[in-house]
């Protein structure tokens, strides 16, 4: 019931938003329902309900371990959204607001889906709901980006559907009655037909990996993040990717039960490292600071999948990283959005000396960059350190070496771009366009808050969070 509520509240909000007449006051729906959602989530977080094994939708440990992060991120982004939409008051925000809320609702559904099919439906729905958000700016570039997002993402979605069917058939073949809840599949365990399970794993990994943005299925990411408003980028990077990751974890539990855990882990390790490498190489050369964020997100998805490949400790670290990365990335996307709007261009060939024009956003951007490249005492430092430690503890010496190497290259790339746009003397054109942009509290406070939370998360990780992550780990690796 509660689980359904989490999904329903934002959807109701979306409907109301569509109906709401005033373009000026409509944005307030975002923080209102975001707050409502967050209250619900935190209430459930503090009083985790007992989820029936057969339930299709439930606030189970895995959902409990990640959904609050998404809700929190959404809340802050919603606050930013009010200020942002005031700047963009020339456009109607009816669709924008409604769909943002819808995305939140569907994300909640996706995170809590305990049924293979339902999970797929929710993810697909999120993908589709995000489409109009991407081309909110209405430029040809935006449409192009949307088109690519749609077809690449659609292909991924199709593959994951096929994968779901394969898993279903595996259970049928193993004598199942076609109950596709993860609980049931896990219970079937080694009875599942091996070839079908492996096929399913590959398809699902590629499918949901496409949503996550793992290389080489990441190609939609730079275009989409590059053209979408910062707030959308933040929610995509912090929320949608998380759904896909949760999905992979849930599937991983089934595969593990079927006795194919080691193979799954190795594939995760390989694809994770590959994504990090590709992202690092792109970061070394890219000249557009919003695309840079996209590649950095690819890199961090690689980190997540690397962590997920390392067994219990690794998964716990990965869940930690979901939080720290989501919050920090959010701050980066929002401040980058400010800079982009002020400078009128995302390219470091044009944009220079933003520390003079938008000092606060620039400061947040630089700090966020340091935070996301694992500078203590921000969250990512601790989570990545946990990942490294888990990797070394499980004897992946060489892989860890490559992991650190990729982090290093990525650091070079990021610092190059960030300092490139922050330092130096701005061009007159940039000055002119920046003079029309005011750094109001509305656009500065949210990223600042996110940074603050990333900091607090790192320094004083709440014990209850650790406990939640461990519970989630127990769900992924059930210990009979």
């Amino acid at each position: 019931m509660n689980a359904l509520l989490l999904t329903m509240v934002p959807l109701v909000g979306a409907v109301l938003a569509v109906a709401w007449p005033s373009n000026r006051t409509r944005p307030w729906f975002l923080p209102t329902f975001g707050a409502l959602h967050f209250l619900l989530v935190s209430w459930l977080f503090l009083r985790p309900p007992v989820v029936a094994a057969s339930a299709w939708l439930g606030f189970d440990p895995l959902a409990r371990a990640v959904l609050p992060a998404v809700s929190l991120l959404f809340l802050v982004c919603a606050a930013y959204g009010v200020a942002y939409l005031r700047i963009r008051s020339e456009r109607s925000n009816r669709v924008f607001v409604a769909l943002l809320l819808a995305v939140l609702g569907l994300l909640s559904a996706g995170h809590q889906a305990r049924h293979l099919g339902l999970l797929w439906i929710a993810t697909e729905a999120v993908t589709l709901a995000a489409v109009p958000l991407l081309h909110f700016n209405g430029t040809p570039r935006a449409f192009e980006a949307t088109w690519k997002y749609l077809l690449v993402g659609g292909t991924g979605i199709a593959l994951s559907l096929l994968g779901s069917f394969c898993l279903g058939y595996a259970s049928l073949h193993g004598g199942g009655v076609g109950d596709l809840t993860f609980a049931a599949l896990t219970a079937q365990g080694t009875a599942l037909s091996r070839p079908w399970v492996l096929t399913a794993w590959v398809l699902l990994l590629v499918g949901y990996g496409t949503k996550m943005g793992l290389a080489p299925m990441h190609t939609w990411k730079p275009d989409a993040y590059g053209e979408a408003p910062g707030i959308v980028g933040a929610i995509l990077a912090g929320g949608v990717t998380t759904v896909a990751f949760t999905a992979i974890l849930r599937v991983r539990a089934v595969i593990g039960a079927a006795g194919e855990g080691p193979i799954a882990d190795r594939t995760l390790l390989v694809i994770g490292l590959f994504s990090m490498l590709v992202a690092a190489l792109f970061l070394l050369g890219t000249r557009d600071f919003k695309r840079m964020l996209a590649y950095s997100s690819v890199e961090h998805m690689g980190i997540l999948s690397f962590g997920a490949a390392l067994g219990g400790a690794g998964v716990a670290a990965a869940l930690f990283h979901v939080w720290s990365n989501g919050l920090t990335k959010g701050a980066l996307f929002l401040s980058a959005g400010n800079i982009r709007r002020a400078a009128g261009s995302p390219s470091m060939d044009v944009v220079r000396g933003m520390s003079m024009l938008t000092p606060r956003s620039a400061a947040i951007f630089v700090t966020g960059m340091f935070a996301v490249t694992a500078l203590p005492p921000f969250g990512p430092f601790f989570s990545e350190l946990q990942v490294v430690r888990a990797a070394l503890a499980s004897g992946h010496g060489v892989a860890t070496g490559m992991f650190l190497g990729c982090l290093l290259l990525a650091f070079f790339g990021l610092t190059r771009v960030v300092f490139g746009i922050v330092d130096g003397r701005p061009r007159p054109t940039t000055r002119a366009s920046a003079s029309r942009f005011v750094e109001t509290a509305g656009v500065i406070a949210p990223p600042l808050v996110l940074l603050g939370m990333s900091l607090g998360l790192g320094l004083f990780t709440p014990a209850i969070l650790r406990e939640a992550w461990l519970a989630a780990v127990n769900q992924v690796f059930p210990t009979p």
Binding site: G117, I121, E124, A125, E144, K148, L150, L151, G154, T286
Partner: protein, 215 residues
């Protein structure tokens, strides 16, 4: 009636794949795609007539309506708007795509042997057919330059998956089927809308123009 007719239909679907691969004219591409949709729609009704119940009928009708009528109509509209008739210089020539498709189909049959099937599915061409359609879909997605052809490719891909889904039709509950179907349809609608927007923004549906976003 049993596997025989089913296999016949699947064979027909496979044939339509090749047709889709070979046709340079968009209308015929769309036609073969929609025809395939209808054929697939028929299948659930024919698979096990004795176990026929209302939900299967519902799914079948919805499929036929969606894939046979709605989507083609959308695409034709877009095509007229962009007034393009044929697909000139595709990325992958027609003969190569045909050969690839044919080879793929054979490969599909061979590959399908690797996967164990339940006795009731053992005789059917479901799996090879599904794989073949998906392959066709991918070839179209990769090999064609016009947005519409790509959409068709995507739909044929979906058809393949649907074909595969028939393996589970009796074990998966209605909610699921309908949800999936709904998503697919919405997806196609959205795609249609975007195609339309692109057509307005670039006044062309040639994806060669859609390469401004790059490193």
């Amino acid at each position: 009636m049993s596997g025989g007719t089913l296999n016949l239909l699947i064979g027909l679907a496979m044939g339509l794949n090749l047709l889709a691969l070979g046709s340079s004219r968009l209308p015929s591409l769309i036609r073969s795609m929609s025809l395939q949709g209808v054929v697939l729609g028929l299948m659930p009704l024919l698979m096990e007539p004795e176990r026929l119940d209302w939900r299967v009928v519902a799914v079948a009708l919805a499929t036929m309506a969606g894939k046979g009528i709605v989507i083609p109509w959308l695409l034709r509209r877009a095509m007229r708007a962009a007034n393009i008739e044929r697909e000139l210089q595709p990325f992958l020539g027609y003969v190569p795509s045909l050969l690839l498709g044919a080879g793929g189909t054979i490969a599909a049959v061979a590959l399908a042997q690797a996967l164990p099937l339940l006795p009731e599915h053992a005789g059917t061409l479901l799996v090879p057919g599904a794989i073949a359609s998906m392959l066709t879909g991918f070839i179209l997605l990769i090999g064609r330059a016009k947005a519409i052809s790509q959409v068709c490719g995507y739909l044929i891909l979906e058809n393949g998956i649907y074909l595969f889904g028939l393996l589970l039709i009796h074990s998966t509950p209605l909610l699921l089927e309908s949800g999936i179907l709904l998503d697919v349809t919405v997806g196609v609608f959205v795609t249609g809308i975007i195609v339309d927007r692109i057509q307005r923004a670039f006044d062309s549906l040639d994806t060669r123009k859609l390469t401004t976003l790059r490193e």
